[in-house]
Symmetry: C2
């Protein structure tokens, strides 16, 4: 599917559209993270009301619990979780690396123990694709080797070489096992080394995928270094395919990366920060626990038209959060997702109107007021 | 307001209707409990979709947090929590008795320390009514003296005498401070002694209130004793006013108490049990953790038309609950509240149709299948 159409460019910022079995996706696009077959604290209807076009599922989590035998009975994740729009799943590699007890990394794949029950598993490129096919993901990600930061040039070089060999295996397995209606994305690695990023981009593009992602960013490196790596890598990716920057980032990151030509993003920040009482607004983030909101009858953001801002005051949200009421997490999450989705929509509209520069200036000037 | 109209009787079971500033209430009615200005895990829209006509707020909790100064700025609880239908609040006495550190009980009232921060407070009959007026409750409850079970006849007699004197003070304060658009209910006490229940009912009815409640049941006594007390007390309450059995109960309790002529109920059971993974169905309760639901593609109850049953499987609900996802508590709560509200609606329809006996038989036969 995919068939990416570039509709407009404003400098290097791009607005486009592509197709999936579960509907089209207008880019740039932000994907809320639904780790365990639910975007934490919100319903599918609330995601749609907020404008979510596509969500991300975590293969590692879903493989361990509830498992492919169960999700397979529902012919995939969509019916299981009551979400009929597109789904992208990651490969599981990052969670094996960050959550599981990694026992051994070999040419074959990751041998690991579950963080839930200690059970032993092997995540190979083929296994990752097989699980993602079972989840019936619209966009399947190649298994890549993640690196801790900082890594040496030698470590990063070895990881990118393995990632490239795994990408070939992923593509071969995907071609053999599917009708290619569900798309497979290649992932560029290379650590924090510009020469390796370039070599990885070239190698992954040479294999050829319906879309491309940049992995291994936002792993603890300084912000300027992350942006430098993205700025050097994005132009090396084929411009007729969607470009996805994985696991990033803050609102500022999204604005900068869209400006650099990125099309797709996912990040736990809006949902996780909501559960920690941090709310995003045009003028920066606010902490709902702050005593100055105690009697505030106004909404989080008077300019916001999300469900939370239309119906609830800062004083009420502060009360719910202080009292640890379940509704607090939901109302905060609805607001933060709306902020992110609205921000990306605003960028898209500005690119289409040829006014992205003005949009970006206004974005920063509001935050610095 | 109130102006209770008895529409139909089926034996001693009653169907009626009465008015409040925020709309009419059709009885029998079940009131979901919204302790801290939210019915745990659900939104006002979900309560309405489930058919909730009125909810209960807890004066003790709301007085301590967020406090009357804040809720007063919103002219009461309705706007603060985005609920425009009727609200009943309890007096706060039961929570002082069960949650707070009770320092002293005198003729004046309860001297207690907050369970949140240890701060010292005095809950007198006048203070309770004042707080409930500030909350702008549609139905205000008199402050009563709660008793631990078991209590001696002497203790119960003293408590009922104090409850009667407090009821007079509550009524005087309510008459002085309000235009009586918000109604005040008297509460019958008397422990587990039929003679004291009768004496209390007579004394409270003699004072005269827009509605009457039976308090001090379901406090740890055997079920048969609770039902015996209710059966003896309900006929002694004026039959031209709504009769409210406080803090009760199981589905069976509701069916039995409606049969005995009760009109109003509140209980945390549907909401609390939902958060503990217990789901109500016509055929009894199920524990969502049960391994037999692991692969079950069917809904909790095929006959149920709640949001949860229309969109989600047992396997998905079990997965969410096992993974401790926030959505689990919400979907379970939506189902359980729907079960309770639907049960009471079904009883009302049967009373109006003159078929309550048949309804009751069918209720038990399904549960014993």
């Amino acid at each position: 599917m995919i068939d990416f159409k570039l509709l407009s460019q404003s400098g290097t910022a791009r607005a486009g559209v592509f197709g999936t079995v579960h509907g089209k996706i207008e880019t740039p696009v932000f994907m809320p993270v639904g780790t365990q077959a639910t975007v934490k604290a919100v319903s599918p209807e609330e995601l749609k009301a907020g404008g979510a076009q596509i969500i991300l599922g975590n293969t590692y989590h879903l493989y361990l619990r509830p498992g492919c035998d169960i999700i397979g009975r529902f012919a995939g994740l969509h019916r299981f979780m009551n979400w009929d729009r597109p789904i992208l799943t990651d490969s599981g590699g990052f969670q094996v690396f960050s959550l599981a007890r990694l026992r051994k990394l070999t040419e074959e794949g990751y041998a690991f123990q579950s963080h839930i029950d200690g059970s032993r598993h092997m995540l190979s490129p083929e296994k990752s694709i097989e699980v993602q096919i079972c989840l019936n993901s619209d966009i399947i990600m190649c298994l890549d080797q993640c690196l801790a930061h900082p890594a040496t040039h030698e470590q990063a070089e070895a990881a990118l070489a393995l990632t490239t060999r795994w990408a070939q295996r992923c593509k071969a397995f995907w071609q053999e096992r599917t009708d290619r209606q569900n798309s497979l994305f290649g992932i560029v690695q290379g650590g924090m080394f510009a020469d390796l990023r370039a070599r990885s981009a070239e190698a992954i593009a040479a294999i050829g995928f319906p879309g491309y992602a940049i992995g291994g960013l936002s792993v603890g490196e300084p912000k300027a270094l992350m942006m430098d790596m993205a700025a050097r890598t994005l132009p090396l990716l084929p411009d007729d395919r969607p470009r996805y920057v994985m696991g990033v980032g803050t609102p500022e990151d999204l604005v900068e990366l869209v400006d650099l030509g990125a099309d797709m993003f996912d990040c736990v920040m809006p949902t996780r920060n909501a559960r920690n009482g941090q709310l995003f607004t045009e003028r920066g983030t606010v902490n709902i626990c702050n005593a100055r909101f105690r009697e505030d009858e106004g909404p989080v953001d008077a300019a916001c038209d999300c469900y939370t801002c239309r119906h609830y005051s800062l004083a009420y949200l502060r009360h719910l959060y202080t009292a640890r009421e379940i509704l607090a997490y939901r109302l905060n999450t609805i607001h933060n997702l709306h902020y992110y989705l609205n921000l990306v929509n605003g960028m898209r509209a500005a690119i289409l109107a040829g006014t992205f520069d003005r949009f970006k200036k206004a974005f920063y000037s509001k935050r610095n007021e």
